[in-house]
Symmetry: C3
Subunit: 398 residues, 3 copies
């Protein structure tokens, strides 16, 4: 993409009505359609600048804090790549996985790590009712720190996965779709099947499917959410998605049949998650440190899962989709039958055919994260991007 | 602060007689008053430059080594922020906590990590008689490496807490006081109460109170050191502080009464530490790996602590201070009664009132560390700072 | 070294016939003599630029991935220093030591960590038959990612030690030799003794001695490889080294006598390694997770080692070398008798005399790694280096 095309994207951005400055990115449904589109535009601009060897380095020095309360390789690399692209050094805050800090400790730590920080990325998805709450506590502490004159500027908080939403994943997924179909506006009327799939593992968070239906419902898409009985998502998120789907001129179907969801779908997203009830039961057990109870819960949950091994994205299932050619999506890593496990979410031949698509899907995440940071830190992001373009600093000496 | 005010600070700096180039920062009392003041000035200049969006990045590339032999979140972030502010990439040297390396190993490692390094920050505060010794061994190895032509330049060593002093903490504390009272010279005659306080935890190092009395005694302050019987500090540090207090036109009182110390104080610093005897007894037990002995020692120590639960910074105690309005200080985290523990160092209402002050106190640490690095690496630091000002490189694109 | 001398080195570089662009650095014997020499030249240029305060920062932003499947302090610092020198931020990929990933997992991870990455350094030396294979799998995955349009550019893979070769070590060693003797061409005819030495430890990889004979045999040197019976290296590497020695006008002797190897040597490299048979036996035991079998193997191996305690680089042995003044080399850390162990690879007085030489030897590694990265990423590296010189960006503000 040439400089003039990048300028055209920035012109589009400057027309969006957004209020993201000194705000955080927790849930996509808290953002207006213009704010969603602005995030896509900034991500595209940053990627295009980098690929045109124009440095998008906003900061000469500065810290980006990463706080992973759950394991992550991919998101860790995405966050580090995003921070580095903007010129920030990543300093990891390792609080340990088991600890649930609240109140005074959160307030103090949030300030102590932020004196020279521009962004804080948090992954906290293990406890239903906790992750999003914790992130907002950090954000509130930062507001207080700025108000008290303790912090020179407000770092922006980016949700790298909570118990409710996984916006860096869903936004990357939909930027991928926008490029695949030729524009965000082309998503209108497309059918997307967000379906549960069998996996031999346990306790996968609900935030990916919730994030997908919560965002798909903004674009007038025909959404089909399918899962076996008992594998519900947080009811409020499903309700909200239904309303959003209607408001955006799309539809929302909730079914217990994978076939029904796949029927004539343009896009399929078969992915395992834990049953909502089990996630609810886990919380008091985790809080109580009841290891025996957790083990028992896991055992019964896996036994229950095994009843639904036919929830697999096979070649037969793919034939049900539009022209047999729906786009397969996954947040990765997928449980691939006969590859990563004996029986899993997807057949090896299906995954093989779409492997590069899933890799491309993932490639948008660093740019989405960078866009979220930039938008949280700049009142006039279009002006900043124009200044970067005019600076003409090369990213690499050839 | 505008560019002209920053220039005025640099002019002040250039009048100080200092000999810090290719030296290290181990103990404040090894530094002259001019060197102490120069460190404050450089810290203020760096902070003002950053806040005026002028990049204080001295290095385009280069490594800062962090070596934490004890846990730390705050100091880790302060060191990373300081290094990044100057343009250095932090590489952690993780030798493990339990190991006490000496001789050949220290010499070799010190050289191996320093080929492209500019600074080395070390925290080693767990063993009385070890931390400072280890830091000097590293420094000596670096001198040898430079003399032998192995190292292209001498990295500067910054003491991030030893068994004797905690200069990045105490210097940040006093830079805070200088700003609070309107100048370092305003500290003369102010009464500071450095007092022990009850905490349900065990084995806190002596380096903070030692650092405070060792530095307060340079400014002509009226120092009152108070602790229960048996909670002495290293005797040599107390003796030295007395002499320094007299020499600087201040005074030094050593008492076993918290009330007496608080009486008419301008500043109070109530903070727990382990008894000197216990710290002495720990060393051979730690060396011998005597876990049973250490457990017994801890138990008896905690039982002894519990006799002094009334050593708490309550509202009543605060009323004893000058106008009831002394400035409360703490290196954080504080043990707050009914918040972080049932009975602790400070009452919740007192801490609440001064929370933002303690956060502001902490905010100086990254700049103090950056100043120590710069002063150890530049023969004419004023010239470097002027060159940075003239370069007019912005820190962030707005 | 002045700018004109640096330009002269770049001119030499531009005359070398090399094909290293978008390739990796796995084994020195896969590289032509011109490619070896080009790597030395780039390393020297980068070092000279840094020492002349000219920034060799090629990248404004970008990621260098480090993947250490075995512990390392020195190589970790060398890689970080090299990456930082070129402007890259190091993000560690911590997969854990025990895991042997292949196939789909390697392919996916290689792509996921590479969207904004320029280089990947891998240390994987614990399993015979695995390390090199794994590195090539990563490289193949990256080729596929570029071909599929998933990756914007091909990151270059640098072998930071495999089961077969340790090229960053051997190349640093020989750049040290080139500087010590006054040029790479001065190595012709010099005798180098690569000998086994006793160590009380177990399971040291074969890659260092293999790397040394595999590289020494390119320069027309007289190589003497000596070890006790049973301590063979991978036979193919020894055979290849013999052929290379003959082709380059040198010689290769394989003996079971340390004295014979030391006789009239210009250079001695006494260093412990595990017996080839033991390394072979370890692999199935490791794969099977047979801890008992591994313990037994270690016990018998250490008992066998103890028969060869006289394989020590003593003062007496050094007297056998040319004029008693051969250059002692070691990759460090060495097992020094009476210093790091009761009986080890080298006598304390010998090591003392050559300590600074071994440190200097190590000092070339960051530059060798940086050179490997640059050569894998630039079609015309001489042009890049000239552009860096012309840019005249200073590395540090003085």
């Amino acid at each position: 993409m040439g400089v003039n095309e990048i300028k055209a994207l920035i012109d589009q951005l400057s027309k969006k009505k957004i209020d993201m400055y000194h705000k955080d990115f927790f849930l996509t449904w808290e953002k207006s359609r213009d704010e969603i589109d602005a995030t896509f535009l900034v991500a595209d601009v940053l990627r295009s600048m980098r690929e045109a060897n124009i440095s998008p380095k906003v900061w000469d020095t500065g810290i980006a804090v990463s706080n992973f309360r759950d394991n992550s390789t991919r998101t860790r690399f995405s966050f580090a790549s995003a921070a580095d692209l903007l010129g920030l050094y990543v300093q990891d805050l390792d609080e340990g996985k088991s600890q649930i800090a609240h109140g005074e400790t959160v307030r103090e730590t949030a300030n102590m790590i932020s004196f020279l920080s521009e962004a804080i990325g948090i992954r906290d998805d293990m406890y239903l009712g906790e992750g999003d709450k914790y992130q907002r506590e950090v954000a509130k502490s930062l507001d207080d720190g700025v108000a008290a004159g303790v912090l020179p500027d407000r770092p922006t908080v980016v949700n790298l996965q909570s118990d409710i939403d996984h916006p860096t994943q869903s936004m990357a997924d939909f930027l991928h779709l926008a490029h695949y179909f030729g524009g965000v506006d082309k998503l209108k009327g497309k059918k997307i099947a967000m379906t549960w799939a069998y996996s031999p593992s346990y306790g996968k968070p609900l935030s990916v499917p919730q994030g997908i239906i919560g965002l798909a419902s903004r674009f007038g898409m025909e959404i089909s959410l399918a899962h076996p009985e008992g594998y519900d998502l947080i009811p409020e998120v499903v309700e909200l998605s239904k309303k959003q789907a209607a408001a955006s001129g799309g539809s929302f179907k909730h079914t217990n049949s994978m076939d029904e969801a796949f029927k004539d779908a343009d896009i399929v997203y078969p992915k395992s998650w834990a049953p909502y009830d089990v996630m609810l039961q886990r919380v008091p057990l985790l809080h109580a440190g009841n290891q025996g109870g957790l083990k028992d819960l896991e055992k019964s949950c896996l036994a229950n899962n095994a009843r639904f091994k036919d929830w697999e994205c096979t070649e037969e299932k793919m034939k049900l989709t539009k022209g047999g050619k729906a786009l397969y999506m996954h947040c990765l890593p997928a449980d691939i039958t006969d590859v990563s496990c004996a029986a899993g979410e997807v057949a090896a031949t299906v995954f093989d055919r779409y492997r590069d698509d899933t890799y491309r899907e993932a490639s948008y995440k660093p740019y989405i994260i960078a866009a979220m940071i930039l938008l949280g830190k700049r009142k006039d992001p279009a002006a900043t991007l124009r200044a970067l373009l005019e600076r003409k600093q090369i990213r690499e000496v050839m």
